[in-house]
Assembly symmetry: C2
Homo-oligomer: 491 residues x 2
């Protein structure tokens, strides 16, 4: 009991430290002056060293061991907290300091090399870094341990208690239908996308509109804010402080708008975590696949629904007068447009997952040693042509487009598609509740948010993603709802 309280207190302090790092990181992306970068790196290095130190300290280990020994399993939450703290401790301590340092250096050099390689579309410049990053990833996987293949251990880092084979099975199962729906959607869209009335959609008006909608969905602006960055994100800086960012295109207000809905989905999850469990697994989000389910839910299931715009389109017209002569049905066709693009981050709902299938396949083969680094561009292009029917114009818009590999983030990509699948399955389950369904039909999403609060947010990380989904929806994770959603939206 004493050791458990000590452990939990250490975990809270460690999380407070991490949250200081989060403030420094947020500021780095939003307001830091160019010349402040070097000192910011010093500050961040100091903080992350302390966070790591605490989590692998003898005090921590001994408190954890004693707390485990004295836990009788009477309290579900306590047991879950201990289990997850043990998982994190094992993962942290299984990597020797030298490997952590090597990984950190390789990620830093890798990102720089990748940025340059992408600029000049020169894969060879990045290739040696990718090799080193893969070596490190394989060594990490070996040290963390895995059942079937190294990729399991990497995936586990983002999506706990999942394995490669299960993800592969899901992806294989949806592939034919995805290809069919996306091709049909793209073909239908090709007959002509309505042209959004020309801008400018002034940034200030976009900010006002976005904030008004985010607030109406339940994002609490007394506990958060929206700022502007090149790459949008959402970050939790501690209780009462969840911040999201977006970027603005004055020619097309829907770009920042859907971005804010997406990030607000992440933000609503973070704001819905039990604040009394701050710093403990019970107060923390469980996985990227669940996190992404929340962002995709609000972005796509809510924000692209006809009911949503039937309610909000008049307000959009008031904010952006040029919309007044653009009928709602044209606007809906505009936001449901589908098109094959070489770039993942520009992809629409109908084609997005094809980008993930491609990356998952290549990552897995690279980790298994079945795909050599020098063959990555050719393999990328071949698979891209198979899925999309044409070749990327160059590596910059092909295998060099994403930052993830340059930081060693192998195993991250599949969580985007898991998020899509989870979002659809959760939305389907939630709308079986008549209040939720009635609300959604009238653009009143309060009942939907309460459903997510109760079935997802309130659990923190006490349940594995698969079990969380099973309990919330009554079914194992599956792609039925998602495929049905895509069909109904696009066909």
């Amino acid at each position: 009991m004493a050791s458990r309280m000590m452990l939990f207190e250490m975990a809270r302090v460690q999380h407070t430290l991490s949250s200081i790092g989060a403030v420094l990181g947020w500021d780095q992306e939003t307001y830091l002056s160019p010349s402040g970068g070097a000192h910011r790196a010093e500050q961040l290095t100091w903080i992350s060293a302390r966070v790591h130190e605490m989590g692998v300290s003898d005090e921590w280990r001994s408190a954890l061991e004693q707390a485990e020994a004295s836990d009788k399993g009477e309290d579900f939450k306590t047991t879950a907290n201990l289990r997850e703290l043990r998982r994190a401790y094992d993962r942290a301590t299984r990597l020797p300091v030298e490997l952590v340092a090597r990984a950190s250096k390789a990620a830093s050099l890798g990102q720089q090399a990748w940025a340059k390689a992408r600029q000049t579309s020169d894969f060879n410049h990045f290739a040696p870094h990718l090799r080193e990053l893969l070596d490190i990833a394989r060594e990490k996987a070996d040290r963390w341990g895995y059942q079937d293949e190294p990729y399991d251990a990497l995936l586990e880092h983002y999506e706990r208690a999942t394995n490669t084979a299960a993800v592969a099975a899901l992806f294989e199962a949806i592939k034919p239908e995805l290809c069919r729906v996306s091709a049909a959607a793209v073909e239908r869209s090709a007959t002509g996308r309505p042209v959004l009335p020309p801008g400018p959609y002034p940034e200030a008006a976009q900010q006002q509109f976005n904030a008004r909608i985010a607030a109406s969905l339940g994002f609490d602006f007394t506990s958060g804010r929206i700022d502007t960055t090149t790459h949008p994100f959402c970050i939790n800086l501690g209780p009462g402080d969840v911040r999201m960012t977006t970027r603005y295109d004055e020619a097309d207000f829907t770009s920042s708008f859907f971005c804010v809905l997406h990030e607000a989905g992440h933000g609503l999850y973070e704001q819905g975590l039990p604040v009394e469990d701050f710093g403990l697994p019970a107060g923390t989000s469980v996985s990227l696949g669940i996190h992404e389910s929340q962002s995709r839910l609000w972005e796509n299931h809510v924000g692209r629904s006809a009911a949503f715009w039937e309610h909000w389109y008049p307000e959009a017209c008031a904010c952006f007068p040029q919309l007044e002569d653009f009928p709602l049905e044209d606007f809906l066709a505009f936001i449901h447009h589908a098109e094959f693009s070489p770039i993942r981050v520009e992809a629409d709902e109908a084609t997005y997952d094809l980008h993930i299938l491609l990356r998952f396949d290549l990552e897995r083969r690279m980790l298994r040693g079945e795909l050599a680094v020098e063959d990555v561009p050719a393999a990328w292009n071949e698979l891209f042509r198979e899925l999309f029917g044409f070749l990327p114009p160059d590596d910059r818009r092909g295998c060099l487009q994403d930052i993830h590999w340059s930081k060693g983030g192998f195993g991250y990509f599949p969580t985007y598609s898991l998020g899509n699948l989870n979002a659809a399955q959760l939305y389907q389950a939630a709308t079986q509740d008549t209040d939720v369904a009635a609300g959604c039909a009238k653009a009143n999403f309060g009942p939907l948010l309460r459903w997510m609060r109760r079935h997802i947010h309130a659990h923190g990380a006490t349940l594995d993603p698969a079990e969380l989904m099973q309990r919330a929806t009554g079914s194992p994770q599956n792609a039925d709802a998602y495929l049905a959603h895509l069909s109904s939206r696009y066909l």
Copy 2:
């Protein structure tokens, strides 16, 4: 040598930690959401505990002692660094932990009580807190040690190597002339202040204008920025990262403008400190009285000069078209207006120091035990009437107007007037250089900045304020230049 390097490295790390606290503090004032305050306090508490811990640790003490023992005084900067690190160590270790905790709690409660007392103009609500804060200040002074009176030890905290008697002598010497100049200036102004053409002066245009001028004076925006806060300030977050803030009044652009010039003066000082000495006294500002000399120099000697506006007024007119029919001479009369106001922060150059004389006198008597807390409002009003010729309308606009005492900041106020005196003395000395004088006459302030860089900024905290002033100007600190400046501006 080894111990010195270790000590200096510890000092740099400690300063990096402090700079993390500075980021947290800056964010708290600028962007933190209301609900994030409690967690922010946790983060700040953790950081300041570590900063304190490091500075009083056995490793620190032993490295300091060894470095001192092995210092042969061959290198001026090293010796100065060691002397100032010793001064800081002694001040930090002379206060027992319980006293620090008591002070921190009293400051927190004191600020809350003061805010409420000011709102309702109810001194009695604040009185018990002021008593406790004075008790603590006296105990601190006793532990720090002083020569003549407790106030010495408190003043030393903000203005090192200065004593109360010296400040009192300066203030006594200027009082009659200050009273004469301010009365005459107010009388002359009373014949009618030109009315600034009505607003709005749009915030965006003010931001643009302010930033353009600050940059032209030498503030480096690749190493800094301007944000918006209720109470303007300037803060150094580490090398390459100096941030200032202001607030906007759309009816009067000069409000934010002079505020930015003032904070830019602080910022230019911070940006001019030797970056290679970051974390050491040689890379740190020396005192509040010197810091304030820099802000007042750019705000008043530069920014309110005729030469400045002869150059910049056309640009102001371009930014704010309503100025076009407002002649430059009227504008100068507008910004040189003098008026007796009960509020210090609204006071003009001609009357500002009277507010400081008043506070210094009361603080000193309180600390000596000659003025009981319950008698503060009456004493304030009496002295105010003597200096200003009328009574403050109430305590809210009298003895309750400033935050300083509520945080235990006794000894801070006189540094504002020391700043005014220093600014005038430095400006006079600098303009004896023909390049500087010729530059200032043509609104080219580059030579003036370079003079300050060389004579003030470059020294960090290696010289005591009095010696710094003596070396820079060739004379001891005195009020001649300041009184001459006020006379020439106002009479």
